[in-house]
């Protein structure tokens, strides 16, 4: 299994532990990653607000690099997934736009074949659809039987369904549940698991942003979760790094919910040392997780 790897800006910035754990976990699973070192930001849905064509061209640039490698593209960020899928859909539907974008890419010797398209998959989708849950269960070295984990998806990997391949894969909004159970952990579900973490408005309306995070974290803690697992580093940032501030909006006392990146959860179940997966590089201590392994 070999993929062109788009790590996203955050795994190279505020969540370096995501990058490290992804590299380590993929290696253990036998997934080969060819990193797009020269890839650019997807725009996170912000650049498209300002100029849709710019955002589409930026994404096409990454797609073209993956196509040149003749590899499907893997990402580790729900936001990247949604933005990439949306750009793909626009470029496919609008050949005039694709031609214009390719004109811009040509100076760099790149070309994105929008008609042929490109498989773009978050690590979560790769785990379930390409690697397979049965195979995952077979390669586990340390099933996480003592751990109670809740899912947190991140909006862009589950909405809007029509552009995220739900026609072909209708269970994509259940994959985190599947994976949590496959690694042997006890699944904790709660109402806010597929809602917004609040990150996009953190600097615009902090109170609302923290209230959103606080609601989901409170529900998860009340439901008995030792931790949450997310395929989105932006959700991780709002739920983890902002958790001490969110606590004052929480419905429960003593809010303390560690937030694991998806590759960290898988890595732990594969028996990789927690330190190597940088589980200690979170604002909220992962002690609750480690104590239950």
């Amino acid at each position: 299994m070999k993929y062109a790897f788009w790590p996203g800006c955050v795994s190279k910035g505020a969540c370096p532990e995501l990058y490290t754990s992804m590299v380590r976990t993929s290696a253990a699973l036998g997934i080969e990653l060819v990193e797009l070192y020269d890839g650019n930001c997807t725009g996170a849905g912000v650049i498209s607000e300002h100029s849709m064509e710019t955002a589409d061209a930026l994404n096409a640039r990454n797609f073209a690099m993956a196509q040149r490698l003749d590899l499907p593209l893997i990402n580790i960020c729900s936001t990247c997934q949604g933005v990439q899928s949306m750009a793909q859909s626009r470029l496919k539907k609008n050949p005039k736009l694709a031609a214009e974008v390719n004109e811009a890419l040509a100076e760099e010797g790149l070309f994105y074949d929008a008609e042929a398209g490109l498989e773009v998959k978050n690590f979560l989708w790769v785990l379930v659809e390409d690697f397979g849950l049965d195979r995952l269960k077979e390669v586990l070295k340390k099933p996480l039987t003592g751990l109670k984990a809740g899912p947190f998806y991140g909006c862009y990997i589950i909405r809007p369904e029509p552009i995220l391949g739900f026609d072909e894969h209708p269970d994509r909004d259940k994959y985190l549940e599947y994976v949590i159970e496959a690694v042997g952990a006890t699944l904790i579900t709660y109402e806010g698991q597929d809602k917004c973490c609040g990150f996009p408005i953190l600097t615009i309306n902090k109170e609302n942003s923290l209230s959103m995070a606080a609601n989901h974290l409170s529900e998860a803690q009340e439901g008995g979760a030792d931790c949450l697992v997310t395929p989105c580093p932006l959700c991780h940032l709002n739920l983890d790094a902002q958790q001490p501030d969110a606590a004052k909006y929480a419905k429960v006392d003593g809010l303390e919910v560690p937030i694991l990146h998806l590759p960290q959860l898988i890595g732990l179940a594969l028996g990789i040392d927690a330190k190597e997966l940088r589980v200690d590089r979170h604002v909220v201590s992962s002690q609750k997780v480690l104590a239950n392994l």
């Binding site: 505020a14 020269d38 100076e107 909405r159 109402e191 917004c196 615009i204 209230s211 790094a241």
Partner: protein, 372 residues
């Protein structure tokens, strides 16, 4: 209330009866084919009666025999007409056009009349029906739409042309209206408002329906109040408070894509120069840091376009380059992240192909706006 016969029986209620084709009807009357056309439907409906002694959450179960094609609304009407006349709900057209029957079905806002039971669950599995969210409940499935209409009115949902009216009608080219096609489909059912994740935490937010309606007029070429509209909508509780979660896009039964309309308003506001707010500054900073133009002050701050997001500088620029007080507010979180080893380096290295990224930005700079 009329008694119904047990499942598989031949008695058919008038409501159900009317929905059968002629062949079915014959089947009903002879009591043969009818049985095969029915399915078991189990509704679990959230009840609320403000006058009851106990107003805590209560769910009531209704077991029904319904035609295979039955919608959630058909089933609710059946329950009300033949099992429980106290069940309160709103409905009218049964054709997804009046917008009366928006409610939560299995946790998501839907039009009850547009949702077939068999598309939701296997036969006999429970369908959970709750009133629309984010609005006060009057009784059972009936919510108070007053806050919804107040917000729609607040965006002045009427055309405000300037100058003397034309002799005949206002004429605009077809293409100028294309961008409004989606929002003109809105039936004001409130499904988007029901599931809006921002309204869940802040009832002052104008919300997806009203903001989409605002674009209906701010984006209309005949309207001459675009600038004051955009100024007002850029205030707190307006366009920048949307968290872009796509929930309204997902639940809208008429494909209005309210969030996309909000993004068009944001783009129009920023391009119109209404930038003295955190939302607009955030967008402009994002663009600048990834591939946009920088000036001398930026250079002095060590800021350059890098092709990737500079997470250290983005919040600084969002507060405003000279807003030191605002920037200081982020200090505790910065220190917290530093302690955890999550603080990105302030020396942000551009990617190898940065000149190409900048070129892309320049090339498409003229074609701005999500609405373009």
């Amino acid at each position: 209330m009329q008694e119904r016969s047990p499942a598989g029986g031949v008695a058919v209620s008038p409501t159900t009866y009317q929905k059968q084709g002629e062949a079915d009807r014959q089947g009903c009357e002879t009591g043969t084919a009818r049985k095969d056309l029915l399915m078991d439907v189990r509704l679990k409906v959230k009840r609320f009666d403000p006058e009851a002694p106990d107003t805590s959450d209560r769910y009531q179960q209704y077991d029904l025999d319904m035609p295979e094609s039955a919608t959630v609304l058909d089933s609710l009407i059946e329950a009300r007409e033949y099992q429980d006349g106290t069940l309160a709900m709103r409905c009218s057209c049964r054709s997804a056009i009046c917008g009366s029957c928006a409610m939560r079905v299995n946790g998501r806002a839907r039009l009850a009349c547009k949702t077939q039971v068999r598309t939701l669950v296997e036969e006999g599995e429970e369908v959970v029906i709750e009133p629309a969210g984010n609005l006060p409940v009057i009784k059972d499935l009936v919510v108070d739409m007053a806050p919804f209409w107040d917000k729609v009115r607040a965006v002045k949902p009427w055309l405000q042309p300037s100058g003397p009216p034309p002799e005949r009608e206002y004429i605009v080219p077809d293409e100028a209206m294309y961008g409004l096609n989606e929002v003109m489909n809105c039936i004001m059912c409130g499904a988007c408002v029901s599931d809006c994740t921002v309204l869940e935490v802040d009832k002052t937010f104008l919300g997806p329906a009203a903001l989409a309606k605002a674009w209906r007029f701010a984006g209309d070429p005949r309207d001459d109040a675009q600038l004051p509209r955009l100024r007002e909508l850029s205030e707190p509780s307006g366009v920048w408070d949307c968290t872009r979660c796509n929930m309204c896009v997902e639940v809208c039964p008429k494909d209005v894509k309210p969030m996309d309309q909000i993004l068009k308003l944001r783009a129009a506001a920023t391009h119109a120069g209404i930038t003295n707010n955190h939302g607009s500054r955030h967008t402009l900073a994002f663009v600048k840091l990834v591939g946009g133009e920088t000036d001398l002050i930026d250079a002095a701050m060590g800021t350059k376009a890098s092709g990737r997001l500079d997470e250290v500088r983005l919040p600084v620029y969002t507060h405003g380059r000279f807003n030191l007080i605002g920037q200081m507010k982020d200090l505790p979180i910065g220190l917290r992240m530093l302690r955890a080893g999550k603080m990105p380096s302030p020396f942000h290295k551009p990617i190898g192909g940065i000149k190409h990224v900048k070129r892309i930005f320049k090339r498409f700079a003229e074609k701005q706006g999500a609405g373009s």
